[in-house]
């Protein structure tokens, strides 16, 4: 394996001189908005260099420090297949006491940016106390100035998970105990995806396997690849019939969720959701794109079918409007984008005040998945956990098991068992990952309408 490529971003960033942030804090000329007019020019030594190699944050907390310090930050791009559009972006934090923490900041289609963004947070971390996750989270969010979108949110998510992993290990308890869980010691109820099979025989067999294994919920997609913002009778009927067939095939004892994947408009989504109301779906996911809470609320108010959204929202700030409007029934916050364990916990706490349920998304790698389980177990408003896999495990699950030594994110009797080891609950070696070198950033799917115009993927 090409080690340079594997650690490419880390090596590149390590060469950069840290300290420009410190420079601003230490002194020097600044204009009225706090900018340094000499940025990029030669400066005197006292400006850029912090004599102890420490940040101001760790100095301020000397009297209440845990004694643990972050000594190194490593970023790994991991492509299970060379062309993967979502290479896992893993973060490893090392400390002066030998404890290491792992986290995940995978951002689909933007792996290189996510890796670089994590490295951009290096100066926020090295030399600081990893136990102060809330403080470091705030620093990453607030001192970033522009707040967080999906890229910064994903980078922070990876770092946040790694910090929680360290804290759990340092305190010798699994993370869910730090959060006050579990509500259910048997584990976390999850749902698998259904491959695009729609024959009566396939569905009957799926039903049998699911019931035998205790799987109580499954999620399907829509039959067509693209939808316009106004749709034809034929395509609406095809989607409705497809959902009806699945309900008939799976019966009433399995909950069915349908992912609309934000492929359509509120107008078209409202028609479809009204048509499938008699199917008593568990929820319809992302019936329209996520930025417009009013549009989402309009769909939700047209139907008794529960509406779920939220996988693309970042930080509790990004979820506030949906929650205070009571626009949706279920939030699908993604621990790899929202800002990690800290942010997922806050979103769930805020959602609970509005009696909104949580069905967290997790369609990236296994570290984010395992992190989510800990938070799920301490949510009073937890509904179900997405497992981006099928009833029958595939290649991906084999690799995960090879990494962790246990079948990560697989259900037993319909529940994913809670990790019991301290921290996030696993050991992971860098050499295990090195078999799957970073294949580079690959775009997600390009989808176009019949006339060549851009369609949602």
């Amino acid at each position: 394996m090409n080690r340079r490529k594997f650690l490419g971003t880390a090596a590149m960033m390590a060469a950069a001189v840290p300290g420009s942030r410190m420079g601003a804090a230490v002194g020097g000329l600044k204009d009225s908005c706090g900018c340094d007019p000499f940025l990029g020019q030669a400066r005197d030594a006292s400006y850029a260099v912090n004599p102890n190699g420490q940040t101001l944050a760790s100095d301020a907390f000397r009297d209440v420090s845990s004694g643990i310090k972050i000594t190194n930050l490593k970023v790994f791009g991991v492509s299970l297949t060379p062309n993967s559009d979502r290479p896992y972006v893993f973060v490893k934090l090392e400390t002066n006491q030998g404890i290491v923490g792992w986290g995940e900041g995978t951002l689909e289609g933007k792996a290189g940016s996510a890796m670089a963004c994590i490295q951009d947070f290096r100066d926020f971390l090295i030399g600081n106390d990893p136990m102060q996750v809330e403080h470091l989270w705030q620093s990453m969010y607030v001192h970033t100035f522009y707040r967080a979108g999906p890229l910064i949110g994903s980078a922070m998510s990876g770092i946040d998970q790694a910090l929680w992993d360290i804290r759990g290990k340092a305190l010798n308890v699994p993370v869910y105990k730090l959060l006050g869980g579990p509500y259910d010691a048997r584990g976390i109820r999850g749902y698998y995806h259904v491959e695009h099979i729609r024959t009566a025989e396939d569905l009957a067999q799926l039903r049998e396997t699911a019931l035998k294994e205790g799987v109580s919920c499954l999620k399907i997609g829509l039959p067509d690849h693209d939808y316009e913002w106004i749709e034809t009778n034929a395509k609406i009927n095809r989607a409705v019939k497809d959902m009806q067939r699945v309900r008939e095939g799976l019966g009433d004892s399995i909950d069915i969720a349908v992912d609309f994947h934000a492929k359509m408009s509120p107008a078209v989504a409202s028609i479809m959701i009204k048509e499938v109301e008699p199917l008593h779906l568990l929820f319809v996911e992302e019936p329209c794109p996520p930025e417009n809470a009013q549009a989402m609320a309009r769909i939700a108010r047209h139907s008794t079918t529960p509406i779920a959204t939220g996988e693309r929202l970042v930080a509790a700030y990004g979820c506030r409007e949906l929650i205070e409007m009571g626009a949706v029934d279920i939030l699908q916050t993604d621990i790899n984008h929202v800002g990690g364990i800290s942010a997922l916990w806050k979103v769930a706490a805020m959602a609970n005040i509005s009696n909104i349920s949580m069905a967290p998304h997790a369609c990236e790698g296994p570290i984010g998945g395992l992190s989510t389980l800990h938070v799920d177990s301490a949510m009073p408003n937890f509904l179900v956990q997405e497992i981006c896999s099928f009833v029958k495990p595939g290649e991906k699950e084999k690799i995960w098991e090879e990494w962790f030594g246990f079948p990560a994110m697989r259900m037993v009797d319909g529940r994913v068992p809670l990790p019991t080891k301290p921290g996030l609950g696993f050991e992971l070696s860098e050499s295990a990952l090195s078999k799957y070198p970073f294949g580079g950033t690959k775009p997600m799917e390009f989808v176009f309408h019949e006339d060549g115009s851009v369609a949602a993927l």
Binding site: A60, V64, V173, K177, G180, R320, S342, M350, I353
Partner: protein, 323 residues
């Protein structure tokens, strides 16, 4: 002499956790014992719904005390803090006359406080408007003159009409009080809107609010600038959950309680575990001893020991036991 409802939780492994409640009935205590026997103490969130509402806040504090002791870490470290290295302090001035208040102000300044809650005595009759407001403003001005570097919050204990509260707020807003605490009861939120729209004095509400949804209404409608949830009703975790919501409205939290040293220590841990903490109010002196660290130039030191980080002497508790 103040009295407290101290909750003690014992684990099989011999750890003892302490919490405080706003009074406890024998039947609630019995129900709690039945619900918790044999349960894992670390599940402080999951156990919350199994006990009577009167017990929840105190139980949460006691279970976090145990979790901290079990992990050998202060509660704020268990919860991902500290977010700050000390906690801003405020104390309530005692007295009703100008002379009494001024005298206590000097005493508390010498003790190290730099922020003070000034009690607002409601007028003898309702809706006194400008006369009442003028008197309160005069009193606050005199305090400012006596202690130019100190800060003041006004505390009306929910005893004013919205009209009197708005008049008072308008009269003092150029004096920049830290905030106006519980100007009127939280009932019809539209009456609170009157105060928040007519003045820019920050408003604090929360000591009587048990339902988190009411806090959400206040935040959503822009009627509150400082959350004052009762720590013994909501517990450390309940207040953290409210703080998570308040953060998205850029609103700070200053926990309120009428407890003693255990509640005070809990307030300091809470403050060091959330980003949007503002201030902790000192409880009256207690027979249970020194509370939650030294006061230095307007700030409390954070407790450093495991759990709550305070030594509760069982013998002292027994000696002072009243029920």
């Amino acid at each position: 002499m103040p009295s407290y409802a101290v909750l003690q939780v014992r684990t099989q492994s011999g750890l003892i956790g302490y919490g405080e409640c706003n009074g406890l009935s024998g039947s609630d205590l019995k129900a709690t014992n039945q619900a918790l026997a044999g349960k894992t103490p670390s599940a402080y969130q999951a156990l919350d719904g199994m006990v009577p509402a009167t017990v929840r806040g105190g139980l949460n504090i006691a279970l976090l005390d145990i979790l901290g002791k079990a992990t050998q870490a202060p509660i704020y470290r268990v919860l991902g803090g500290p977010t700050r290295n000390k906690a801003r302090a405020i104390t309530r001035l005692s007295g009703t006359s100008d002379e009494e208040l001024q005298s206590d102000l000097q005493k508390q300044l010498a003790a190290g406080y730099r922020a003070f809650l000034v009690p607002i005595v409601p007028p003898a009759a309702r809706n006194q408007g400008s006369v009442f407001a003028h008197d309160a403003a005069t009193r606050l001005k005199a305090m400012r003159t006596a202690a130019p570097d100190a800060d003041f919050a006004l505390e009306a204990q929910a005893q004013l009409t919205p009209g009197d509260a708005a008049s008072l707020a308008a009269a003092v807003e150029r004096l920049h009080p830290l905030w106006f605490d519980e100007p009127c009861p939280v009932s019809n939120l539209e009456t609170i809107r009157k105060i928040s729209e007519e003045t820019v004095v920050p408003l604090g509400f929360g000591r009587t609010i048990a339902d988190p949804g009411t806090f959400q209404d206040l935040l959503r409608e822009g009627l509150v600038d400082l959350l004052r949830p009762d720590l013994l009703t909501h517990g450390i975790t309940g207040v953290r959950r409210l703080a998570a919501m308040a953060e998205t409205y850029y609103v700070d939290v200053a926990p309120w309680h009428e407890g003693g040293p255990i509640a005070h220590a809990a307030a300091l841990h809470l403050g060091a575990s959330i980003p949007n903490f503002f201030i902790a109010q000192s409880p009256p002196q207690s027979p249970l001893g020194q509370v939650g660290g030294t006061l230095r130039d307007g700030f409390f030191d954070l407790p450093k020991g495991p759990g709550l980080g305070i030594a509760v002497d069982e013998k002292t508790l027994e000696r002072n036991r009243i029920a």
